[in-house]
């Protein structure tokens, strides 16, 4: 089955890293495209990131950890 990767996105002008603060879907859970997937904190703001695709979530990134833009934090096995 094909996997879609989930990497820390660049969503701020000077953003280089972010703290993963919450997964809104549990590891192994079903994900619908467009639903809130996880939240990151950067530049004093928390942003909710939605799922780009539907499928089953594989959590890789750990809550509370600081990641660089582009770091792999999860995968979605496409449904």
């Amino acid at each position: 089955m094909a996997n879609a990767v989930i990497r820390i996105p660049k969503i701020g002008v000077s953003m280089t890293e972010a703290t993963l603060v919450e997964w809104h879907v549990a590891d192994g859970g079903a994900v619908e495209a467009g639903q809130p997937l996880y939240s990151i904190e950067m530049e004093k703001a928390t942003n909710e990131i939605v799922a780009a695709v539907s499928g089953r979530l594989e959590v890789i990134g750990e809550v509370g950890t600081v990641y660089q833009v582009g770091d792999l934090i999860g995968k979605i096995a496409l449904s």
């Binding site: 969503i11 939605v50 695709v53 770091d71 792999l72």
Partner: protein
């Protein structure tokens, strides 16, 4: 104002195609950025597709366009080939500017896209220069310059409207008024109630239009372009619209009242235009076939961009001066 009656199916489908190319490209772009596959700053035009499609359909292929960093809708609707545009957005060496411009500086003279600027309000004097060159050369081209509502508070806006009117330049100033300048509503940044109210001070022909209505927008644009091409001078178009994804992708639009956002989404111009075409007896199958063709184009263009190489570091020495800088 609008020549709705004279808009034939070919023109209506042309606008549909341009708008949905923007719509699907924008959706793909947002998905790739939010999944971290593409690391660029992105100013989504979601909600403003119909405006750009109807506007560009009123232009000739070789007419000039100057736009801003929220400009992918203008650039695609004007006709930049998808794969070249996508490669430039991704900063790749085979992009429209060899990867040196990036999303903020898309340029493609072959399709008339002369300048994309990252500086608010800076496009209008440039557009006047392009229009002056057309006037002097007598090449019959019209220049369209797109900018946002907040750009009308910049000095260059006022100077440009005034100069264009004095010299009767073949230019159309299109303010895509999406009601927010970055995070500030127009009412908190602008003294007059309507932006069109600024035009009479310069004696310039001015039109206010619902930019999300393809028929009204095309009518206003066509009249302005014809007026300019005939040598009668500039027009200021205030086109009302809305944006659904904040100033910069990642901005959660918290400064936009929830009910205002909900009302705007309920009036989403993309499904509204599709419904209008179905009402005119254009079939679902026709529109679905166009959508499918666009999906293939967007998929191929985005894959091409992701797979392409970044520019060679030696490119840093090229395109700076007339001659390459010695290593």
């Amino acid at each position: 104002m609008s020549d709705v009656e004279t808009m034939n199916d070919e023109l209506l489908l042309d606008i549909y195609r341009r708008a949905n190319l923007v719509y699907q490209s924008d959706e793909k772009m947002r998905n790739l950025i939010l999944s971290g596959s593409l690391q660029i700053l992105y100013y989504s035009p979601r909600g403003q597709e119909i405006l750009a499609a109807a506007l560009m359909a009123a232009l000739n292929a070789d007419d000039y366009l100057v736009t801003t960093y929220r400009g992918i809708h203008d650039q695609l609707a004007k006709g930049i080939p998808s794969s070249d545009l996508w490669a430039e957005f991704a900063g790749k060496g085979n992009g429209t500017c060899k990867g040196k411009g990036g999303p903020m500086h898309i340029t493609h003279p072959e399709t008339g896209v002369m300048v994309t600027t990252g500086i608010v309000g800076s496009g209008m004097p440039i557009a006047n220069g392009l229009a002056l060159s057309s006037q002097l050369e007598g090449d019959g081209k019209v220049t369209v310059v797109c900018f946002g509502d907040a750009a009308s508070n910049i000095g260059a806006f006022h100077e440009s409207l005034n100069m264009a009117q004095i010299w009767k330049l073949p230019v159309v100033f299109v303010c895509q008024n999406n009601l927010y300048g970055e995070h500030t509503p127009v009412a908190l940044s602008t003294g007059c109630d309507e932006l069109i109210d600024r035009a009479p001070g310069y004696g310039i022909r001015a039109v206010q239009v619902n930019g999300n209505d393809a028929f009204a927008m095309y009518g206003a644009a066509k009249a302005a372009v014809d007026h300019a091409r005939a040598g009668n001078g500039p027009t200021f178009i205030e086109a009302k619209t809305f944006r659904f994804f904040g100033h910069l992708l990642g901005d959660d639009s918290h400064y936009i009242p929830a009910e205002e956002m909900a009302a705007a989404k309920a009036a989403d111009p993309i499904p509204a235009y599709r419904a209008a075409l179905l009402d005119r007896q254009i079939t679902e199958a026709t529109l679905d076939a166009i959508d499918a063709q666009i999906a293939e184009e967007v998929e191929a263009a985005s894959a091409h961009a992701l797979a392409s190489d970044y520019p060679d570091p030696a490119e840093l020495r090229r395109d700076v001066f007339e001659k390459e800088i010695a290593a």
